[in-house]
């Protein structure tokens, strides 16, 4: 009986904790937010992004060396990983997700910063780019994935992969060895050589590896890279885009919801 009561108390406490984390929503930006954001940024982010956000931190060069990627320049660059239309700034939630998840290979996940600290850092890095004041980024509407892929759907996806020239960069089998990639033609926004993503290795995908992540990447494109947005082609034809997504996932044999 006593143990049972304890269990209830524990559940109550845990529920309370969860609720309080979920409610730790984005604080309104004020001077304190920026001061705290700056403190965290300088201890955590500045090593690569530089103390002034100009992508010139003392450790930043070594990440890509003479190639892409380099750290984001918060004053000038656009953003690669977003839920918004090509060329648009990311939403606050995009930045939050990015800091939480990290970027495989190049940026660690900062789950160790609590939610409030992550929002404070976001407020601070946005303060460098006046475009965040002028533009109001709106996320694209991303539908839920329909039923599980069928063989026909994956087959259709393969046809789209060819039709939309995905193979030109990502290669026939998705190994990132398409003719444009192997010829060294691909360049990023800083004119550094950039590799085409190896679609058979989802663990290295910078924008996430779930079906939803892939759908989003195809819709938004990756600004500052040669990867374009296909939103215009697939507007109103989301079913076809899911087929392409499933085909890409089939290249690694990994289906992730």
């Amino acid at each position: 009986m006593h143990a049972k009561r304890l269990k209830y108390v524990a559940i109550l406490i845990i529920t309370g904790l969860c609720a309080s984390t979920a409610q730790a929503v984005k604080p309104t930006t004020n001077r304190d937010t920026l001061t705290e954001g700056r403190r965290i940024y300088e201890q955590t982010c500045a090593w690569c992004h530089g103390i002034g956000g100009e992508a010139d931190g003392p450790a930043g060069w070594f990440i890509g060396r003479y190639s892409s990627p380099r750290p984001r320049n918060f004053l000038k660059d656009g953003y690669k990983l977003r839920s918004t239309a090509s060329g648009d700034l990311p939403t606050d939630q995009d930045l939050f997700t990015l800091i939480t998840r990290g970027i495989p290979g190049v940026m660690p996940a900062y789950r160790a910063l609590n939610e409030q600290e992550r929002w404070q850092v976001i407020a601070y890095l946005k303060s460098w780019n006046p475009a965040f004041e002028e533009e109001k980024p709106v996320p694209l509407t991303l539908p839920q994935a329909p039923s599980a892929p069928t063989e026909t759907a994956i087959h259709n996806g393969r046809n789209l992969y060819v039709k939309y020239d995905c193979r030109v960069c990502h290669g026939d089998n998705g190994e990132g060895d398409g003719p444009e990639a192997t010829a060294g033609h691909l360049r990023d926004g800083n004119n550094l050589p950039i590799r085409a993503t190896n679609l058979t290795d989802p663990s290295a995908w910078k924008n996430g590896a779930s079906a939803h992540d892939l759908f989003r990447t195809l819709m938004t494109g990756l600004d500052g890279t040669p990867m374009p947005s296909y939103a215009n082609e697939f507007a109103g034809r989301e079913e076809a885009l899911w087929e392409l997504v499933w085909y890409i996932q089939s290249l690694s044999g990994q289906q992730r919801k």
Partner: protein
Amino acid sequence: MKAILFLALVLSAVQDLSPLHAEPQTGMLVGRVVYMGPAIPEQVVEVTRDSAFCGTQATLRPMTLHPKTRGLEGAVVSIDGVASPLSNPAVPALVLTNTRCAFTPRLAVGVVGQQVEIRNDDPIMHNTHISMGPRTLVNVAMIPASRPVGKPLKQSGIYTVKCDAHKFMQAHILAFTHPFFSLTDETGAFRIPSLPPGEHQVTIWHDTLGTVQQSVTIAAQGETHVTLEYPNHADARKQ
């Protein structure tokens, strides 16, 4: 009655003082951009993709000079720093078409807020990538017979237009926050109306020759004629 008369007097006095009432004096800058240096010859590059449609070679023309006037086609003349809000932001879209593996036009000039409309007339896929420095304005896959894609120009400056699929395709869009700009025609001629008189800094930009600046004095009325000469391209600062 007295009061009304007084009010009318005051109002007329105020109207007289108001600069809005007076017809503002403006001049027009008319001229030609010339280039006396040796013409930079055409370049022929290999086409490695979609050669069946695009051909095996593409010709890049770094400059087009008028044989008689030495006028430089496709230079942009602009005057910054004149306080004048854009009178009519509802300008028609700048249409940029992928046609026969090239952008048409190769140079477009517009104002911030103006839509760019990207089209593809070719039976092959293009990838229109417009960016300013490291920031992308838009990067879209253009499937044959796809709908046009619209995107407003977000900031002033020089946008580079590329096709990541066809490296030899390139164009530029210049965006301004004011109406004081002009694109030179095939004889190198341009005209910028409605300029306040006085000394102004004129900026000339050309995609091969880069940027040069020169000051001109606009007369209080009528046309001010000027010939703007590009220095030999080796001296020009490539923007």
